[in-house]
């Protein structure tokens, strides 16, 4: 029952994205523009700078992609969903959908970025894992913050100021891990960082589900 509900909700998110194609196209174009701005501003990028700029592109694209997940539908329709389905299931569907969306976006950003600015990644497996963990962490934190910000009048500004401090531990760990994947720094015990990252994700996801019932009810 709940699995079916989850899949239906996930399908709803995907369908919504494809029906309103301007949103996803906007984000993709946004990624392309950012990559080209970076390329034009600094033609030859060294691996440490490449790494930082890449994560900045992914970060901004992710915020812009996730902020709409609660704003795009009107309050009345949201309330209708909450009557039909379990609210935490709705949130789970949104988190999973946003994770998939961010994975596609960061993959796309990586593709375009490595074409224009070169590909300094030495450990492809680790880098792919870092992208996966990044998509997951960003999705959990941003989806939850978006659900808070959507209730206020100035959602876009609030989204940025509320999420930056919260995302920073995740972002710093991700940058450090991808530095290892780029062989900018040497560290053989990076498993500890991965465990840290998963622990932060676990804390955030638990809190998200505990606190969400207080957010959706108006």
């Amino acid at each position: 029952m709940s699995m079916k509900m989850f899949l239906t909700l996930l399908r709803k998110e995907v369908l919504l994205e494809f029906r309103q194609r301007y949103a996803i196209s906007g984000i993709v174009l946004y990624v392309f523009s950012m990559v080209f701005v970076v390329y034009i501003a600094s033609v030859k990028v060294q691996p440490p700078v490449w790494n930082v700029l890449f994560w900045l592109i992914v970060l901004f694209a992710s915020i812009n992609a996730v902020v709409k997940s609660f704003v795009q539908e009107s309050g009345a329709r949201q309330l209708y969903y909450y009557q039909l389905a379990d609210p935490s299931m709705l949130l789970l569907a949104k988190i999973v959908y946003n994770t998939l969306l961010l994975l596609v976006l960061s993959g796309l950003a990586f593709g375009v970025y490595s074409v224009v600015a070169g590909n300094p990644v030495k450990d492809a497996g680790l880098f792919a894992l870092v992208l996966l963990l990044g998509g997951l962490g960003f999705s959990i934190a941003f989806t939850f913050i978006a659900s808070i910000a959507a209730k206020a009048n100035n959602a876009a500004t609030l989204m940025a100021i509320l999420s930056f401090p919260v995302i920073l531990p995740i972002l710093l760990t991700l940058i450090r891990l991808s530095q290892i994947a780029l062989r900018v720094i040497q560290d053989t015990s990076y498993q500890r960082d991965i465990i840290n990252l998963l622990a932060i994700d676990a804390i955030l996801v638990t809190l998200t589900f505990v606190l969400f019932p207080f957010i959706w009810r108006d």
Binding site: K151, L158, I161, V166, L168, P169, T173, I200, L211, F214
Partner: protein, 357 residues
């Protein structure tokens, strides 16, 4: 409505007393005697050289010259004893050293620690005071030995004074003001989160006011901790801001709570704003833990106890410092709680005037 205006909580008086005690004791208790520098700072093997040792807070004239002993020490086994001592003033001492022809270990040069043992002042040590380099042209003249006079039988002085540390010197007193700010901040933020949780379980405006007041006071203590830290950093590290990982993480932690106040104020309905702010407060506090305790471990830091500890190690405090440090933590934390309570009460009066309560 019950009025308890005449009731004065004992802990308020206690915290004021503790804060006054830690300011007075922290500022007035003297530092132990120490060694600031030795001149000249370089020597060569086979040389006979008179060194001048410059003390700090020292009273060399207070005891007989024959009772003062000085060494240049390489390690616990290898040391040179200074001869024909002259006390020039309370803070200047001259001693003659006869350097052997070889170094205690095969290398071009070694760094030696200067040690003075004084019956009244106790022991003072200056690490890496003199650089002794190998003189390849010198012919063996003296037969002085590194192992003849090991350092021993020192006069350890136990009294109420703070340790003398090179580099930080008198600024060691900032320990009683800089560090308690962070303790107080942590306690205040925990209290704020507790009130946020209570508000979510039972939405009374009283809990929301408390949560906001504690967060506000915590933020104030954060700024004070940052300011005292920057003063200290300017003195000890050479720059007020050196992008140390703890400075950065603290700045981010303060950003989280500034975002909390912006979120609170961006709703038209106060009840809705209070509820969402409470949710964000809990969420933000959970991400504060990795920020302050996990991330700093991944980077090098200038702070003592770096690469591992969030604060400093136990060897950084001696018993005299503990007697001021722990009361200072309790005092400033109590003061913070009192300030937060007052802030919440003021807000209650203001809300009543507006008809919100």
């Amino acid at each position: 409505m019950s009025l308890n205006t005449s009731k004065i909580a004992w802990w308020k008086i206690a915290s004021i007393a503790l804060v006054i005690y830690s300011i007075v004791a922290g500022m007035l208790v003297p530092l132990k005697p120490g060694l600031t520098y030795v001149s000249p700072e370089t020597a060569k093997t086979g040389q006979t050289l008179t060194l001048r040792m410059h003390g700090y807070n020292s009273f060399y004239t207070r005891s007989d010259v024959s009772d003062i002993r000085v060494w240049l020490q390489y390690d616990s086994l290898h040391a040179l004893r200074g001869q024909s001592l002259h006390v020039l003033s309370d803070t200047v001492l001259a001693a003659t050293f006869v350097f052997p022809n070889d170094l205690p270990r095969p290398s071009p040069s070694v760094m030696l620690n200067a040690i003075i043992d004084h019956p009244a002042d106790g022991v003072s040590l200056l690490p890496d005071a003199v650089e002794l380099s190998r003189d390849t042209t010198a012919v063996a003249v003296t037969a002085a030995d590194w192992r003849q006079h090991p350092v021993g039988q020192l006069n350890i002085k136990k009294d109420f004074s703070f340790p003398y540390r090179n580099v930080i010197y008198e600024s060691i007193r900032n320990t009683y003001f800089h560090v308690p700010m962070w303790f107080a901040l942590m306690f205040l933020f925990v209290a704020s989160v507790v009130y946020s949780v209570r508000f979510l379980l039972n939405p009374l405006p009283h809990f929301d006011r408390k949560a906001a007041a504690y967060a506000e006071t915590g933020l104030l203590f954060g700024f004070m901790g940052l300011a005292t830290g920057m003063l200290w950093a300017h003195y000890a590290w050479g720059a007020a801001w050196s992008n140390d990982i703890k400075q950065l993480m603290t700045a981010v932690a303060l950003l989280i709570y500034m975002a909390y106040f912006i979120l609170r104020s961006s709703f038209d309905e106060p009840e809705k704003g209070a509820r969402l702010a409470a949710v964000y407060n809990i969420f933000a506090f959970a991400s504060l833990i990795p920020l302050l305790y996990v991330v700093p471990r991944m980077f090098a830091s200038l702070h003592p106890g770096a690469t591992g500890n969030p604060a400093f190690g136990s060897q950084d405090l001696d018993n005299t410092m503990r007697m001021v440090f722990y009361p200072a933590i309790l005092g400033f934390t109590g003061l913070g709680f009192w300030m937060a309570e007052l802030r919440a009460r003021y807000q209650r009066v203001a809300d009543k005037a507006l008809g919100l309560d």
